[in-house]
């Protein structure tokens, strides 16, 4: 997290011209990546890769790749005029690709927009849209989750049968009851095996 902290201090820095013209119709694209501190604190469980050194910035699907300076700034050199696509690859964060127009007629003009939500950017400051959580979070143990599991259901069903059935039996007609009991006796003492699903079929 420590690496991210100084970024907040730089938040108010005025925007330098994002594009500076170079020689022979080649331009530079300058921008910065900012990972706000608010993100990342809410999660626990996996080590937040807050290191800025692992962030890559890619132009036009990997045609050029650059890295971030400690303050989050990056630049692409010798870029021809046209419409380009900048992507940020950072483990743990989701960045929208950015459409950047480098104009030959009026160099220095900023025209950038997030392609995911078509939001325009007044300056080339890229922030993650959201954090990416690669792992499922283990649910803390609760009685409900245990009961909901197949085993819990089995025990629950069993208990229900054991304690609710006698209640139902009580309301039965005594004569019918006797008949049922006699029938049962004629079948013999139910063994454990006959109660199990495999034995019941015999």
């Amino acid at each position: 997290m420590a690496a991210v902290t100084p970024l907040l201090l730089l938040l108010l820095l005025s925007s330098a011209p994002s594009f500076s013209s170079g020689s022979r119709n080649a331009y530079n694209i300058n921008g910065r990546v900012k990972i706000p501190q608010g993100l990342g604190l809410g999660t626990k469980g996996y080590a937040l890769p807050g290191r800025m050194s692992n962030v890559k910035v890619l132009l036009n699907g990997g045609q050029n790749i650059t890295f971030l300076r400690p303050d989050g700034y990056f630049s692409f050199h010798n870029i021809p005029a046209g419409t380009h696509l900048i992507e940020v690859s950072a483990i743990g964060y989701f960045f929208s690709p950015v459409r950047v127009d480098v104009s030959a007629r009026n160099p220095g003009k900023v025209q950038a927009a997030l392609t995911e939500n078509r939001k325009g950017l007044s300056e080339l400051v890229l922030e993650p849209l959201r954090e990416e959580q690669y792992y499922e979070i283990r649910e803390p143990f609760s009685i409900m989750s245990l009961l909901k599991s197949p085993m819990g259901l089995m025990v629950g069903f069993m208990l229900a049968v054991a304690f609710l059935m006698p209640k139902l039996v009580e309301n039965m007609d005594p004569e019918e009851m006797r008949r049922a009991q006699e029938e049962m006796r004629s079948q013999g003492v139910p063994s454990l095996s006959s109660l199990l699903p495999g034995g019941a079929r015999n």
Binding site: S23, F157, A162
Partner: protein, 984 residues
């Protein structure tokens, strides 16, 4: 009845409790997956051992990696993979805390913080013309307390500040034909010499003030013989060059005017071996030349006299100079001799004595020593000790110290060309029952621990014990076949021409073999490995044979270079045989036929369109001749925009009369208009893909028949203007056309144009669908499209009465020559990321639903359910469609972080994803390779056919016990009640 309803209830709840997405808990990392990090072949290494404590080395590699390694164990402290066209020209350490890298043909200079790898600054250097790129970090040169870096690149000399990368001064060398060869900075002075050749016979020397870039002196002298190749600096004011014939050595001194001194090589060595080549070295007064296989080390005396000090037939590598005490320089020579390598460390001015002489035993399969870097340390008795970092022919990196290999890294695995798999041997002796009982207590204890874990009662020690128990599962790295087919061998071919067998359980190297047929030799100067095929997969009647693979290579990059075959046993890792072919290899077709020993028939097509059959046995020929008329293939000529279909005609006629040679004929050709369409991608189905069912039951009980043909080819073409990079065209000038072509008849089954789109196109073809990824210029976003193709001719078979009365056409023969009646359905979606590669999961029977595996530009692998790419998705699916599993239509494909199969890891430099079915239908094995390797198991529809590792047997036991207890309790209760009833 109760039991049945109970079961239904059970199943219902069981499935409802399943998570719909595939995901991983953090503590499951490393259970079935493994990740290995590599660097590639090291091309430069700089030691950082000044400070006491940490000993480190910075390396740059041919995979464009810059990394800091621990010198004790060879572990990576940090690593950066630069872009694929950002080739590293030079690295060095400045100020003792920055790693300086020069890359992209000398146009990008970066400084990285040495301890943590954070980039500190980056500068872009430009110049008037293309030239050699040289990086120099002088130790004691300061401009206003600022240490500087001297760079010569693109015809311009720059001095850059170490602190912030600012260019302090620059000087152009615009001379028309000037080719700068060396930039020399004599230590302790403020001068820089720039030496080079102009118009091939002029030697030019510029003397420049290092403090301000001022030109102090410019001299040039002509040498009528001309120059060849590189120069090697021997003293700060003397270089050695070769004349244009390569037979005369020139000692050029430029201290007071330029003077040449010629020494014919024949004067130095009695027998000449043809033209020589200089091997530049930075050692004062020593350089080496190479003539054919002979290396000659030459010493330059103070009077510029040349003296041969060593002549050897062994491949010799010389290290750079290493300054040791009192202005002395040490350097190392290393040679391979049989099973050993000989390392010698000498002082530059004293050839006759060795500071160190060691012989180290070295595995034969590491080949020759390609590079050596040395570093010294002070022993406890105050004498110098040396450690040497060597790069071998197989691209591995080793550290030698005191005659031993301290550590080794298999960095050849960073450049994999092709991958195939092989089964492990069957286990002969079954596991004895006694062994199981012996472990019963352990087993129970383990499950009790697990139970504690699930109930969140486990202490931190317990959790650690559980984790280590799961990771240490010895089952997974066993060397025998398992019931589920999870354990296999991954056979990989690397660019160095080495074959590795990796175990899928934990990724360890089972064996490795340096293929002689892919090594540099007199007949073959630039061998290239091409492909790996399964040659022999024994089962049924040939069970006793070991499986083997076929390695195909060729000599040199040209299309008519002769091929080379090699057959390697995958159990033993030994080469069975190898063949040097007389013909070239343009295309390899594994045929679906095997001979009696389960050897697969392969057809090799050469550049002259002759087909050659392997194996060359009479049996194979007889099998092949029976099927001669059923063999079709196609070829793609990207440059001309032509796709051709071919078939066989008969035995070869003419001068190359060979039993296994066959003539071919062209059946059809599709010519794309060269001005408007350029082929950028062609994809077919995987040969070994299994399709479970041809019918697809859709909502309202309708049936659709998939059009499944092995002979479908997907082709994508773009407008010529749009074949460049993103940003180079406007949407109006670019379009992308996708075709589905039948490769037997050449019939175009489907054609669709995407206006305002361009490549690169990445596609995957499976069953009856193709998914492709491209760039939409209008929306300026990436898009993925799906095309599904269905057979209409069978659509009227759904009438039961027709089936009963036998009026269906299910038994009518299917021929590609009959006009297929097909319909296609397609849909497009936005996709956020750039894509490097796309693969699809494959399972044994093809029942399990499919997932796309998308290798993103961020070097992660994303699993995306095929259901998201279903052309029948609508905005508001009906109830029936929802039940069928159709997802409401959205304009973009979702990226769910939990479905990254690489979770929080990156497969740096990702190049390919391979999927292999396991024996268990639900599971597929995924192997992703690039600079890193990553392997995992995936279950696209969850493991519905086996219990997961997580399954809690203890909980099951407890439940059963509880149930039995409840039964006996209720039994006694009812007994008692009955007794009371009877008494009443």
């Amino acid at each position: 009845m109760a039991i049945r309803s109970f079961l239904i209830l059970f199943i219902l709840f069981f499935f409802s409790s399943l998570n719909p997405i595939l995901s991983l808990y953090e503590d499951q990392v490393g259970l079935v997956d493994w990740h290995q990090q590599y660097l590639g072949k090291v091309k430069q290494a700089v030691f950082h051992t000044h400070k006491t404590g940490r000993k480190r080395v910075v390396v740059s590699t041919e995979e464009n990696v810059v990394a800091l390694l621990d010198l004790r164990q060879g572990e990576i402290f940090w690593r950066h993979v630069l872009g694929s066209n950002d080739v590293i020209d030079g690295i060095d350490i400045a100020l003792g805390k920055y790693v300086i890298t020069l890359s992209s043909g000398g146009s990008i200079l970066r400084a990285w913080n040495l301890p943590d790898g954070q980039m500190v600054w980056e500068s872009s250097l430009r110049g008037p013309k293309h030239s050699k790129s040289l990086l120099l970090v002088p130790t004691n040169l300061k401009i206003e307390k600022d240490n500087i870096v001297i760079i010569f690149s693109n015809g311009r000399l720059n001095a850059v500040s170490c602190i912030d990368g600012e260019v302090l001064w620059e000087k152009d060398f615009e001379g028309e034909s000037l080719e700068v060869q060396q930039v020399i900075q004599p230590p302790g002075s403020n001068l820089i010499y720039v030496v080079g050749f102009a118009s091939s016979s002029l030697f030019e020397m510029y003397q420049i003030n290092a403090l301000n870039g001022e030109l102090l002196k410019h001299e040039s002298a002509a040498f009528s013989g001309g120059f060849l190749g590189e120069v090697s600096p021997v003293f700060s004011e003397t270089v050695v060059a070769l004349d244009s014939t390569g037979l005369i050595l020139l000692t050029v001194s430029f201290q007071n005017g330029i003077s040449f001194q010629q020494t014919p090589i024949s004067n130095l060595v009695k027998d000449s071996f043809g033209p020589a080549k200089i091997i530049p070295s930075s050692v004062t007064g020593i350089f080496a030349i190479k003539m054919n296989a002979v290396t000659i080390v030459i010493r330059v005396t103070d009077e510029n006299k040349l003296e041969v000090v060593e002549k050897t037939n062994h491949e010799t590598s010389i290290s750079d100079a290493l300054p040791v005490s009192e202005g002395q320089q040490a350097f190392a020579l290393v040679q391979r001799a049989g099973p050993e390598i000989h390392l010698r460390v000498k002082l530059a001015h004293n050839w006759d004595d060795n500071l160190l002489k060691e012989s180290v035993k070295m595995d034969q399969h590491r080949g020759l020593v390609h590079k050596i870097y040395i570093n010294n340390y002070i022993r406890t008795d105050k004498s110098y000790g040396f450690r040497a970092l060597i790069v071998m022919e197989d691209h591995s990196l080793l550290l030698l110290q005191q005659g031993e290999i301290v550590w080794s890294r298999e960095d050849g695995l960073a450049s994999i060309i092709d991958v195939t798999t092989s089964e492990l041997p069957v286990e002969r002796d079954g596991v004895s029952v006694a062994k199981v009982e012996h472990n019963l207590f352990e087993w129970l204890k383990g499950h009790m621990l697990k139970l504690k874990g699930t109930l969140m009662l486990a202490s931190p020690q317990d959790i650690a014990a559980i984790q280590s128990m799961r990771l240490k599962n010895s089952e997974k790295s066993k060397m025998t076949r398992d019931h589920n087919g999870f354990r296999k061998l991954l056979i990989v071919l690397t660019r160095a021409g080495k074959l590795f067998a990796l175990h899928t359980g934990d990724g360890h190297i089972v064996w490795s073999y340096l293929l002689q047929s892919l090594q540099k030799s007199k007949v073959c100067q630039h061998p290239i490995g091409l492909n790996l095929y399964k040659w022999q997969v024994p089962h049924h009647h040939a069970m006793d044979e070991n499986p083997s693979v076929l390695v195909i290579g060729k000599c040199g990059p040209s299309s008519d270079a002769p091929g080379a075959l090699s057959f390697v046993d995958t159990y033993t890792g030994k080469e069975l045989s190898s063949l040097s072919l007389v013909h070239s290899v343009a295309q390899v077709i594994p045929l679906p036929y095997t001979d009696s020993t389960e050897q697969r028939l392969h057809l090799l097509i050469d550049a002259d369109k002759h087909a050659h059959l392997y194996p060359k046995t009479p049996e194979a020929i007889s099998i092949f001749e029976r099927e001669l008329s059923n063999i079709y293939w196609y070829s793609v000529e990207d440059d001309n925009g032509i796709i051709k279909g071919h078939a066989l005609r008969g035995k070869c006629t003419g001068e190359v009369a060979d039993e296994v040679c066959f003539d071919t004929r062209e059946l059809w050709s599709i010519v794309f208009p060269s001005e408007s369409e350029k082929i950028i991608a062609t994809v077919t189905r995987k040969l070994n893909e299994v399709v479970h069912t041809q019918a697809k039951v859709i909502a309202d009980q309708e049936v659709m028949y998939k059009y499944i043909s092995r002979n479908l080819l997907f082709v994508a073409t773009v407008a010529l203007k749009g074949s460049g990079e993103i940003g180079s065209v406007t949407p109006e000038e670019s379009w992308l056309v996708a075709y589905l072509i039948d490769t037997v008849t050449g019939r175009i089954l489907h054609r669709v144009t995407h206006h305002g789109s361009q490549g690169p196109v990445h596609a995957v073809f499976s069953e009856n669908w193709v998914v492709y990824h491209y760039f939409n210029l209008k929306a300026h976003r990436y898009e993925m499209s799906v095309i599904e193709i269905y057979d209409q001719s069978r659509a009227d078979n759904k009438d039961v009465w027709k089936l009963v009365l036998g009026k269906h056409n299910l038994t009518s023969p299917i021929s590609l020559y009959s006009r297929p009646d097909v319909i296609t359905k397609s849909q497009s979606y936005f996709f956020t990321h750039s894509v490097k590669t796309i693969a699809v999961t494959s399972t044994t029977k093809g029942i399990t639903s499919k997932q796309l595996l998308i290798g993103t530009i961020g070097d992660q692998v994303l699993a995306l359910d095929k259901r998201f790419l279903d052309p029948r998705r609508t905005v508001n699916p009906t109830q029936a469609e929802k039940e069928e599993g159709i997802i409401p239509l959205t304009d973009s494909l979702p990226i769910i972080p939990q479905s990254y199969v690489t979770h929080a890891l990156r497969v740096e430099g990702l190049r390919g994803i391979i999927t292999v079915p396991a024996k268990l239908e639900s599971t597929t094995l995924v192997f992703a390779h690039g600079v890193d390797l990553f392997f995992t198991q995936l279950a696209p529809s969850r493991t519905y056919d086996s219990l997961t590792d997580d399954f809690n047997y203890a909980l099951l036991l407890i439940t059963i016990v509880a149930l039995v207890a409840a039964i006996s309790l209720t039994w006694t209760l009812s007994e008692r009640k009955e007794l009371q009833e009877n008494w009443r």
